[in-house]
Structure formats: structure tokens, C-alpha cells
């Protein structure tokens, strides 16, 4: 393996400007992980206009920093307030908050930070080794393979995410439909433009992402009742003792592996992996009853795993051009805005972007480790900022930011329209994530499907006879039919749950 591009990647990261963007990214990520309300997806969406002005490497380094930085920040609220900042920190609450009640909040946070660092670093190493191999394998993919992969990606994310799967797939199809608005690249015909010049250019990714992820979340949170006043637990010594570290060692190692493997799978990698890591530790433990009462492993395992998963979820994006989750869809969009097509060619055509971003994660994780241990006190103070103050500031950043992209008020209205759409979708149980993801992949899927039809001379059976696209379509079928299969296999489970509720 030729390591000179990797080393050059370090050169890219160590440029002062990129170091600064990495630092800014992880700081923002940690802040929004701590602050209630906005998640990393919403934040990245809102900050997309900024990436217009800066180079691709710096932009993606910053956005990636926000993403994995938020995983660190989310831990703090889980431990101190019993409020998981993210779905992937839910299980951390059990033992993290128990430790906080025993006055060992610092230990929990310290272990989480160290575990996150190790998990993240192991995962970057894995990414460095695996990604070029996968990309090399995928380099020969033709349009049929891409069409198949795109459809598989959309389907997986819709069906693995939380919420009703039927609704998620409907939302994804609506996203595919919205992606067709504008001029058809093959025939030049205008589709669904209703005579509007603005719509003829198609709908831009930025207003969709800002509206569906950013604004809709703010509008949705306005309805939340903020009557619970929490006072965060006191944070004592943050350095975990040698005994704690010894106890957590195995959990951190296993968590790293689980996180890395599950993170590569599209869908809720970070969430799934934190649950799986916690469950594994509890099973392995000699005294499982310690879990939930402040077991150090109960914090170390999920926090390590979710960070490892956050990092390895970059692999499908950077090697196949298929985003593994909603946040990766945003980074996909940000790369497209910069004129860079994520996919197997990325590592050879834009080695600076590929290795710059990958290597920036080492630096980012080091920065996070350095910051999170001594600066916990500062972040605890930030917890006191009321959501009521954050909301209008974020709204203004969103609306004015949308305007600055093309200096058009039309874009602000577009953000508002998609903000309302996202709000209504959430009210009616539809996740906006699959819609945005499908929108991002929509034109790719359509054009590769149509190119494939031309290659096959109009015979759709060609998708199934090519070995790789055929395999992927078999997977598509499996995923689509999985709920039916699952219902058949797990018929026993619902009965047990009912019994549990009644007892």
C-alpha cells in the first residue's frame, strides 16, 4: 500500500487554516451536543451556506468535526442531566447518571472521553485501511451497480431508522420525486416546474436541508414544554482512577470493534452499536447486577462504540458515494456543492480531500480529548443557556444564511416552505431524514438507471444478470421483505412484551 498520499493528507490537515476549521468544527459540535434542541444534523444543515465560501477540504473537515464532536458533547447531558443529547447516548444514561448520583460524574465523563477517543481512533485506523480497498473494488462499478446501490441505500436508511418503516419509505419516495423537479438532463423537458423560472433550475439542496433539518426542528421544539428545571450534578475530579480505567479497558476495546463494524452499515449505526456494546458488556460481566447502578463499563462501552460508529459511517460515503445516515447525506450534499462527486474515484481523483478529511479526524479526536476533560466545567455552564434564547438566534442564522447563498429572497421562502413541511411530517410521524437522503441520491439513481437501460437495450432484466448489481438487487429484495420475514420468525416477542407491561 502506497502511504505517501496518507502522509500528504497530514500535510493538508496541518495547514493552519485547516487546523482552525477542524478546531472550530469540534467546538461547535461539542457545544451543540451539550445544548438542548439542535442536533448535529440540524447544525450542519444550517451551516451549509458557509461552506460555499471556503475550500472543499476545509469545509468537510469542519462539518465532520461537528458530527463527531457532537458525540462527545451528547455524553455530558446524558451523565449530568439524564437527558441523552442524541439517540446514541441513550444507554449511557443508565450507568452515567447513576455514577453522577454517587458523586462520580467526573469519572463517568472522563471514561467516556477516553473511550470516545480510543473508539474514534481505532475506527479511523480501520477507515484508513479499509476505505481504499473498498474504493478499489468499486472502481469498476457501472451505472447498473450505482442504480442498485442507490436504491439499496435509500431503502436501508428508511427501514433501519426509528419510526414506521412504511412512512419512512413514502417520505424517501417523495424525496426522489422532488429531485426530479427541473429540467430533465436527458431530454431537456421541464418537469413539475409549473412555468416557474426558479423551479426550472431544480430545487437546490441547501434550502431543502436547511428547511427540513434546521428550521423544522426549531418549529417542532417550540411546542415542547420546558417546565422541568434541572440542576446539573456537580462534577468533581475528571480523571478516572487506575482501577476505573482497568475496569473499563475491555469494554473500550470491544466497544471500538462493535462500533466500527456496525457503523459501516447504513441506518442507525451509532444507536445500534451503543445498544449492542452495552448489552455485550452486561452479558460478559461477572456481576451483571452492577449495570444500571454505576458500572464504569456501562459508560465506556456505549460511548466508545457510538464514536467508533460515527467515524466508520464515513466509509460508505467516501468509498461508494452512498451516505450511511442523514448527517452523511448532508456531507454528501456539501461535497456536491463543492463540485466533488463522492464515490470510488474520490481517493484517486481528490486524494487531498479524502486523506485530508480522514486524517483531520485524528487531530479532531485529540482536540476533543484535550478539551473535554479540563473544560467540562465550561460546558456545564453552557447547559444553563435557555432554549428560548437559542431558538430565535438559530432562526436568524438559518434565514439570513439561506439568503446569502444566492442573494435571493426566493431561497428564504423555500427554506420556510420546507421547514413547515418538515414540521408537519414530524407531527404526522414521518421522518424528514429519508426524504433528504433520497433527494440527494435521486438524480444519481435516475441517471444511472436510465443509462443502464440504454446499455441493456431497454431490457430491465439486465440489472439482475450482472453479478454485482444482481446481488445488490437481491439484498434490496431481502431488505424490502424483511419486516414480513421478521414477523414470521419473531412471532413470540409481542406476546412477551404485553406480559411485561401487564405484570
Amino acid at each position: 500500500m502506497d502511504i505517501s498520499p496518507i502522509l500528504e493528507g497530514f500535510g493538508v490537515v496541518l495547514e493552519p487554516a485547516n487546523l482552525l476549521y477542524c478546531f472550530v468544527g469540534v467546538i461547535i459540535g461539542m457545544l451543540i451536543g451539550v445544548l438542548p434542541g439542535l442536533g448535529p444534523g440540524a447544525t450542519i444543515a444550517i451551516l451549509l451556506p458557509i461552506t460555499y465560501g471556503i475550500g472543499p477540504v476545509s469545509a468537510i473537515i469542519m462539518l465532520a468535526g461537528i458530527f463527531y464532536g457532537a458525540q462527545y458533547g451528547g455524553t455530558i447531558t446524558s451523565v449530568l442531566l439524564r437527558l441523552p443529547g442524541e439517540a446514541s447516548s441513550v444507554v449511557t444514561v443508565f450507568d452515567g447518571f447513576a455514577l453522577a448520583k454517587q458523586g462520580k460524574a467526573g469519572t463517568a465523563l472522563g471514561i467516556a472521553a477516553i473511550g470516545s477517543f480510543i473508539g474514534g481512533t481505532v475506527s479511523i485506523l480501520g477507515l484508513t485501511l479499509v476505505a481504499p480497498v473498498v474504493a478499489g473494488f468499486a472502481v469498476d462499478f457501472g451505472p447498473p451497480e450505482y442504480a442498485a446501490l442507490g436504491i439499496l441505500g435509500v431503502l436501508l436508511i428508511s427501514s433501519i431508522g426509528n419510526g414506521n418503516k412504511l412512512k419512512a419509505i413514502i417520505a424517501a419516495c417523495v424525496g426522489l420525486l422532488i429531485a426530479t423537479v427541473g429540467r430533465d438532463t436527458f431530454t431537456g423537458a421541464e418537469r413539475f416546474t409549473f412555468g416557474s423560472l426558479n423551479l426550472a433550475e431544480g430545487i437546490d439542496f441547501i434550502p431543502i436541508a436547511m428547511g427540513l433539518f434546521g428550521l423544522s426542528e426549531i418549529l417542532y421544539n417550540l411546542e415542547e414544554r420546558h417546565n422541568q428545571v434541572h440542576s446539573p450534578a456537580k462534577v468533581g475530579n475528571v480523571w478516572p482512577s487506575r482501577k476505573d480505567l482497568g475496569q473499563a479497558k475491555g469494554a473500550i476495546g470491544r466497544g471500538s470493534l462493535i462500533g466500527f463494524v456496525l457503523g459501516v452499515l447504513p441506518g442507525g449505526g451509532a444507536v445500534l452499536s451503543s445498544l449492542a456494546a452495552y448489552a455485550l458488556e452486561k452479558r460478559r460481566a461477572k456481576q451483571p447486577e452492577r449495570f444500571g447502578r454505576g458500572a464504569v463499563e456501562g459508560v465506556a462501552a456505549p460511548e466508545t462504540a457510538n464514536n467508533a460508529a460515527a467515524t466508520s459511517s464515513f466509509i460508505p460515503l467516501l468509498t461508494l458515494g452512498i451516505p450511511a445516515n442523514a448527517t452523511m447525506a448532508l456531507i454528501f450534499g456539501a461535497l456536491l456543492i463543492q463540485g466533488i462527486q463522492p464515490g470510488p474515484q474520490l481517493v484517486t481523483e481528490h486524494p487531498d480531500v479524502f486523506w485530508g478529511v480522514v486524517n483531520s479526524m485524528y487531530i479532531g479526536n485529540i482536540l476533543l480529548l484535550i478539551m473535554s476533560i479540563p473544560m467540562v466545567g465550561v460546558f456545564v455552564r453552557i447547559l444553563r443557556v435557555r432554549p428560548a434564547i437559542m431558538a430565535p438566534i438559530t432562526v436568524l442564522i438559518t434565514l439570513l444564511g439561506a439568503y446569502t447563498v444566492r442573494n435571493q429572497v426566493y431561497d428564504i421562502f423555500l427554506v420556510i416552505v420546507f421547514g413547515v413541511l418538515g414540521y408537519l411530517m414530524k407531527k404526522f410521524g414521518f421522518e424528514p431524514g429519508p426524504l433528504v437522503l433520497a433527494f440527494v441520491l435521486g438524480s444519481m439513481i435516475e441517471s444511472s438507471a436510465r443509462q443502464s437501460l440504454l446499455i441493456f437495450g431497454g431490457d430491465p432484466a439486465g440489472f439482475l444478470t450482472r453479478p454485482i448489481s444482481g446481488t445488490i438487487f437481491a439484498l434490496v429484495l431481502l431488505v424490502a421483505l424483511w419486516p414480513l420475514i421478521g414477523r414470521f420468525v419473531r412471532r413470540k416477542t409481542p406476546a412477551r412484551v404485553e406480559e411485561k407491561i401487564s405484570s
Binding site: 419510526g163 420525486l177 452479558r283 444500571g292 428560548a388 432562526v395 439570513l400 404526522f428 416477542t493 411485561k500
Partner: protein, 192 residues
């Protein structure tokens, strides 16, 4: 809020009937525990709405599918050897129609919709300020609409005190002015 409940070890749950696969039982209990915590966090949300809202959501999705199908049929489907501009959107619309029809039939007892409550009026009010900002921005610049938006959100939507609403909104807009206009020199329409 009862502190003892979600922090109780999952193992102390009243266990169901003995399962032949302990690993799955473990994972299920854990999932149940996580779900319970999630549910508790969602207590701050309005209660879920009834079958009528499920039905209307599914019908709206169905309508989107039908409109998409009609619109793309009008664009011309072409044939598989020579796909027209409408073929792909038509295919997607058909999928939407089929899935929404399934949702109409099977989704009535789902519990994932939320009732519109009095606090939904807050969202509506917030929306009005957004539209006002977008409409006024090209006419009188960003300063006054931003100030109004900040103030309305702080004072009435966020129930902050008069004093902090005034101070924070003026401070925030001033900071925006410095950041966007003076430092980044973005050509925002402005009064001053």
C-alpha cells in the same frame, strides 16, 4: 419525575417466561429499557393523535402519489428503450400510491402522530414572523425585521422577561450586523 425507574438495572425487570435464547432476552430487555427512557423524554411532547390524523396523513401521501403519477404521465413515459422524461417520476409515484394505500388500510392504529395543541399556536405565530421577515427583507433591509423576529420569539414564544427580551434582541442583531455586514461583507439588504 421518578428517578429510580430508568436507572434501575435492566436485569431487575420482572422477567418474562424463560427464553431458550438468553442473549435475545437480554437485548430485548435493554431495548425495552431504552424505549422507556425515550418515552419518558417524550413526555414533554403533546399526546399522540387518533386514527383520523393517521388516515389524513396517509390520504395526503396518496394524493401526492396520484398528482405525481398524473403529472409524469402527461410528460410522456416513452418506452424502456427510449425512456421519456416522465418514466422515472411515474415509477416513483406508483410506489407512493401503493405504499400510501397500504398505510391507509394498516396505519390507523399507529401512535406516532402528535395532536395539535394550544402550543401549536406558538409554532404558527413563529411561522408568521418568518414570513414577515422574508417579505420585509428586500423592502426595508434586515435590521428591523430581525429585531422584531428576535423580540417576538423571546418575549412571547420564549416567555423571557421584557428586559432580557429587549437586551438580547438588540445585542443579537448588533452582533449579526458586525458579523455579516462588517466582517464577512455579505451583501445583505439593509437599512443603514
Amino acid at each position: 419525575m421518578s428517578m429510580s425507574d430508568p436507572t434501575r438495572p435492566p436485569g431487575a425487570e420482572p422477567a418474562g417466561p424463560p427464553d431458550d435464547d438468553p442473549r435475545r432476552a437480554d437485548a430485548d430487555l435493554l431495548q425495552a429499557e431504552a424505549d422507556r427512557l425515550q418515552a419518558e423524554l417524550e413526555e414533554a411532547r403533546p399526546p399522540h393523535a387518533g386514527p383520523l390524523s393517521q388516515l389524513s396523513a396517509a390520504v395526503v401521501a396518496l394524493a401526492v402519489g396520484v398528482a405525481g403519477a398524473v403529472g409524469s404521465y402527461a410528460l410522456g413515459l416513452g418506452r424502456l428503450t427510449q425512456p421519456g422524461p416522465g418514466l422515472w417520476p411515474f415509477a416513483i409515484s406508483v410506489v407512493i400510491i401503493v405504499l400510501s394505500a397500504v398505510l391507509v388500510v394498516t396505519g390507523r392504529r399507529l401512535q406516532d402522530t402528535e395532536r395539535f395543541s394550544r402550543s401549536s399556536l406558538l409554532t404558527a405565530a413563529g411561522l408568521v414572523t418568518l414570513v414577515a421577515l422574508a417579505a420585509l427583507l428586500p423592502v426595508i433591509g434586515f435590521e428591523i425585521p430581525s429585531l422584531l423576529l428576535m423580540f417576538v420569539w423571546l418575549r412571547w414564544l420564549g416567555k423571557e422577561s421584557w428586559r432580557s427580551s429587549i437586551v438580547i434582541s438588540i445585542g443579537a442583531v448588533a452582533a449579526f450586523y458586525v458579523l455579516f455586514v462588517l466582517l464577512l461583507q455579505i451583501p445583505l439588504p439593509r437599512l443603514i
